[in-house]
């Protein structure tokens, strides 16, 4: 089992954020994504996108919440595996 993907769980990326925004907004998705990218500035990593998503419309905020849960789950499980591997 890889520490990069504990239990097969990959850390979300900016591509996952884009997919979420396009998914939940339907036809308006591309326009909303462009606004988020502009708000995030030159660095469009997930860490920069998540605050922009959390400050956006209510549906986009839900996507940010969902992605944060996945990030935290990944972080916690990867750390636990590292501890097990070292012991």
């Amino acid at each position: 089992m890889s520490n990069d993907a504990p239990y097969g769980l990959n850390r979300p990326t900016a591509d996952d954020a884009r997919a979420a925004v396009l998914r939940v907004h339907g036809d308006n998705g591309p326009q909303i994504w462009e606004q988020l990218v502009r708000a995030a500035g030159s660095d469009t990593s997930l860490d920069r996108l998540l605050p922009a998503m959390a400050a956006a419309d209510p549906t986009t905020r839900l996507c940010a919440l969902a992605l944060r849960i996945r990030v935290t789950t990944h972080t916690e499980l990867a750390a636990a595996q590292l501890t097990i591997a070292r012991s």
Binding site: L9, A19, A20, T59, L62, L65, R70, T73
Partner: protein, 169 residues
């Protein structure tokens, strides 16, 4: 991230708008939902009870009893690991007698990591009529849930839905 088809189903715009119409992070709402979860866990003699909405890629726990470790830290689980995802997709009560023997759940990391193995969940409807989440109990033993168990949980879910409607965004 994989499981694209699942995320597409859960992330339908109309359903997500129904969830977005609620003030999900309100602390008073969370406290009340914790109390409902505690009541259901006590009445059904289960170690864990949840009130949650299932978002496009994750289950967001709104109220809980008996949750610890990484699930508590994350306040949720990936949607593909969440037992409540099955309740939401079914749109009706969903029961797992023994997740360690059920081919649909035997490889679920949530069950394997938490030591939980049986589940009973009832769906939660949003104001717009969408199935937005579930109220459930999860047990650490093989368990055949009864009609009385289902009635208790359904009563809890009705309380949850009334509460959610009282907290619009």
């Amino acid at each position: 991230m994989q499981h694209t088809e699942l995320y597409d189903r859960l992330g339908e715009p109309e359903r997500m708008r129904d969830i977005a119409g609620l003030d999900l992070l309100n602390p008073d709402l969370r406290t009340s939902l914790d109390e409902i979860a505690e009541r259901s866990a006590t009445l059904l003699e289960a170690p864990v009870s949840l009130v949650s909405v299932v978002l496009d890629t994750s289950q967001l726990i709104l109220g809980s009893h008996g949750v610890s470790g990484w699930v508590e830290q994350a306040q949720g689980t990936p949607a593909e690991w969440a037992m409540c995802t099955h309740t939401v997709l079914a749109g009706e009560p969903y029961c797992v007698i023994d997740g360690y023997e059920d081919p649909k759940h035997i490889d679920n990391p949530f069950l394997r990591m938490t030591g939980l193995r049986s589940y009973l969940g009832v769906p939660l409807l949003g104001v717009g009529g969408q199935v937005i989440g579930a109220h459930c109990v999860i047990d650490a033993r093989r368990r055949i849930f009864t009609d009385v168990d289902l009635a208790v949980l359904t009563d809890g879910a009705e309380k949850v839905m009334r509460l959610l409607q009282a907290y619009p965004a």
